[in-house]
Amino acid sequence: MALSPRWQSLIRLLGVQASWTYERMSGIGLAHAAAPLLRDLFRDHSPERRRAAVARSAEYFNSHPYLAGVAVGAVVKAEHEGVPSVTISRLRTALSGPLGALGDQLIWAGEVPALMGLSLASVPLLGWWTVPVLLMIHNVLRIRLTMWGLDLGLREGLKVGAALEHSWLPKVAGTAQRLAAFAVGFGAIVAAGWLLEGRSRASSMSVAGISLAGVLLLLSASTRTRVTGIRFGLVLIGLSLLVIGGLQ
């Protein structure tokens, strides 16, 4: 049984960043996701028109990967309606910023850290069951968001910018970020407490002291550009190995 063009496009949207580069960003992936819909819509037209539409789809485009479907749908509808190519290029440019910023706020600064923070907090209670639960929640939300975005784009076409602005997305993005801030603060402390269970008071106090020093280094204006968590961790590992070696 052959999949409908919409489903083919949805599946391809899962790999929209497979050819991600600094020059075109997700442009090639966007064209790949749009191709089944364009093929279907331009069945009765000349192949040249479809090729021109695919070529336009492959130009520079940047957005959050989960929201790229909004642009795919809007561009495909605009191509089908015979909108001039200059207007379609403008639509892509106009969508790049908002889809990137909204997606980053909603997903990278919202849903993902919120889910990870809550998962860290629930590990002491649920144990390894936390992992399938978090994966299920994230992937259901992700697929639903991608489907919603593609359908919104296909329905609204050139008017997708306004539809996006008046949708639930901007409001939920703000809430998700606040939830993420709470969850990371809560989850990090609960997880650290769990990992320190049964250890000496000196170990707990050492972890607290190192964390305080690390946070100050990560935030201080003079060190924050050079100090990252992973670099700080590597330096601590090196120092601890030196001390352990010296104590043998």
Binding site: G15, R24, R50, R51, N62, G185, A188, I189, G214, L234
Partner: protein, 223 residues
């Protein structure tokens, strides 16, 4: 380590490497997931979970936002989770950091190489892309996937080599090994909280972060 176990870990490490950016971006590459599953594959899910929790603290500092540079935690956490499960006496938190932090940095660097090669592939077919040849678009996507898979295989092989190397260390003969645990956990907590404070800005989100941290402290200290 048996060949079947090594093959299963190689497969899982490669899958999570590809998941980070290429497909399906389903958060399988998060250290909490990658290390726990690796622990389960290696026969000790709890050891993998412990490694995953501490590495997740590090990973919360930087999110994989498009053009930014970030470590690749997937194969690194696979190696850490499996080491925690397979190497007795190593101290699960400390060995997780020892194995995963350098490998995650190498993974981040390999992502840059992968992207540069993808750019070269596109440049070499620019005329056909500009002509709207759907077949060349598909080829570029397929090559991107294959290249990222190869990147995952290399990183996972390095990870398996690190597991084997960790197995050669006489951990039980080393005194004061808890210092390594303290260093790795202290670094992770710094990364999670420092990153959260930095990204929270100065408004409501910082207040929510403070409320969360205070609530977490109450839960931990509750008798």
């Amino acid at each position: 380590m048996t060949i079947v176990l090594a093959a299963a870990l190689l497969l899982w490490g490669t899958f999570v490497a590809v998941d980070l950016v290429t497909v399906p971006q389903g958060m399988f590459s998060r250290p909490l997931v990658s290390a726990t599953v690796a622990g389960a594959i290696a026969g000790n899910v709890t050891a993998g979970l412990l490694a995953g929790v501490v590495l997740e603290l590090y990973a919360l500092e930087v999110m994989p936002i498009g053009a930014s540079r970030y470590p690749d935690w997937g194969p690194a956490a696979m190696a850490a989770g499996a080491t925690a499960a397979l190497v007795p006496g190593a101290g699960r938190i400390g060995v997780a950091g020892l194995v995963a932090l350098p490998l995650a940095m190498v993974g981040g660097w390999s992502m840059l190489l992968h992207r540069r090669q993808t750019a070269r592939s596109i440049t070499s077919r620019l005329e056909r892309v500009a002509a709207g040849d759907a077949r060349v678009i598909w080829q570029l996507q397929r090559e991107g996937l294959l290249r990222d898979t190869l990147r995952g295989v290399v990183l996972s092989t390095l990870g398996i080599a690190m597991i084997l190397a960790a197995g050669l260390v006489p951990w039980t003969a080393i005194e004061h090994l808890e210092l390594l645990d303290v260093a790795v956990l202290g670094g992770g907590l710094s990364a999670a909280l420092g990153g959260a404070i930095r990204s929270a800005g100065s408004g409501a989100r910082r207040r929510w972060l403070a409320i969360g941290a205070a609530a977490g402290t109450v839960v931990v200290l509750w008798p």
